[in-house]
Symmetry: C2
Subunit: 226 residues, 2 copies
Amino acid sequence: MDKTICQLCKSKSAATEMLNDNELSVLSENCAVTNFLPGDIIIKQDAHSTNVAFLKSGLVKIHVAGTVKDKILKLTKAPAYLCLPSNFGDKINHFSATALEPTTVCFIDVNVFKKFIYENSDFAFQIILEMSKNELQNFHNCLNNAQKQNIGRVADVILLFANTIYNSNTFILPVTREELAALAGITRESVSRILTEFNNDKTLKVNGRQITILNEKLLKQISEKG
Amino acid sequence: MDKTICQLCKSKSAATEMLNDNELSVLSENCAVTNFLPGDIIIKQDAHSTNVAFLKSGLVKIHVAGTVKDKILKLTKAPAYLCLPSNFGDKINHFSATALEPTTVCFIDVNVFKKFIYENSDFAFQIILEMSKNELQNFHNCLNNAQKQNIGRVADVILLFANTIYNSNTFILPVTREELAALAGITRESVSRILTEFNNDKTLKVNGRQITILNEKLLKQISEKG
DNA sequence: TATTAAATGTGATATATCGCACATTTTTCT
DNA sequence: AGAAAAATGTGCGATATATCACATTTAATA
């Protein structure tokens, strides 16, 4: 954890871009930057939250403890705020956030953050915009999980990695099959079976965690038709 | 559709409570109040949105067109904003909103709404608070639908009506079995079967749409354990 | 009130998915 | 390097749920 000079930061949020030099100085004084490795817990569910967490770089999973196993609600890729809604209202973390890749997080004092909301309306509006986008995105995810059968959900998750996270048709999964299952809302065994099926199909080339999409069109069809 | 005097309105949102007399006058000039009957469409998916919709009284379902059948994302009870996130960003309605009971909606010009966000920081903060609560609530719903089996989902929906919507253990469902199914994310037939089961159990007294909860404790257990 | 349409309940069957068991591979740690 | 632990793939049986079919009730409409 070390102090930062936020003025020089290249990965500001849309909201932080709205802060003036003076406000950025205040932010610098109240911002602690921390690095995390894969598997490190960044935010712990049920703990009291006193800081807003901004994901400066890296990839994180947002998850909740279920009765039996964890459910991954979504993946969040930098730059983005982590679990912003938990910072308002009851100030209890409703979810956990765990690093999937080496990540850097800025922890900002929640009162300073609120001060910016109150004193800089451009900042406030950008926060509202970000929350709007998130909420729409979450509904979309929710729908996927609600109306698709397993093969469609797996197709969906693969497309998520390719199109949203890595912007490439070849990538190395940053998660175990178990986590992939927790993300798709199905069992580990089903993930395994479907991935081998895709591999036999020549829809994907699956080699452990190394994935290559061979037939994106088909994958999209499967994802859409459920 | 008629003009209103917002100063006298008894069902202001938390945000609108923060407006001063002057701002309330502006709101009055830019607010159209409309009444809807059950089945009436208030917001139409994919249409361009130029107004913020505030649900002054009544009950509404938020739903999206699926490939085969509709999915009900949630029920919204007055007082609350309807689909607020659709008003920012691309300004396209991502969902439909349809009245389930006689409802009254205030349509507020989105630019006036934005003006309040920019000029009244208390207003802006209340909007952020409302959006935060919504997002947490949505995640909760999402989890329910993700990790529960049918009987738990039906228990959940019944408890939603009893505890959140009607605040009573006896109520008349404002929805068909089909809609109940769309809300729980299961089939109509499964809803029927589970409701008769609950009726035989003496967990519920089911008489058409008239529901009475006889064993709330059990119902909660079923809802929680899935 | 008669007629039609919509909503509902329920049995039988098909099917998708889970859960378990176990072999095998990969990773982690000493 | 070697041992232990974790992750992974796969067959098989159990099970929850969807789907189809049809009777019956309830509501809507002329």
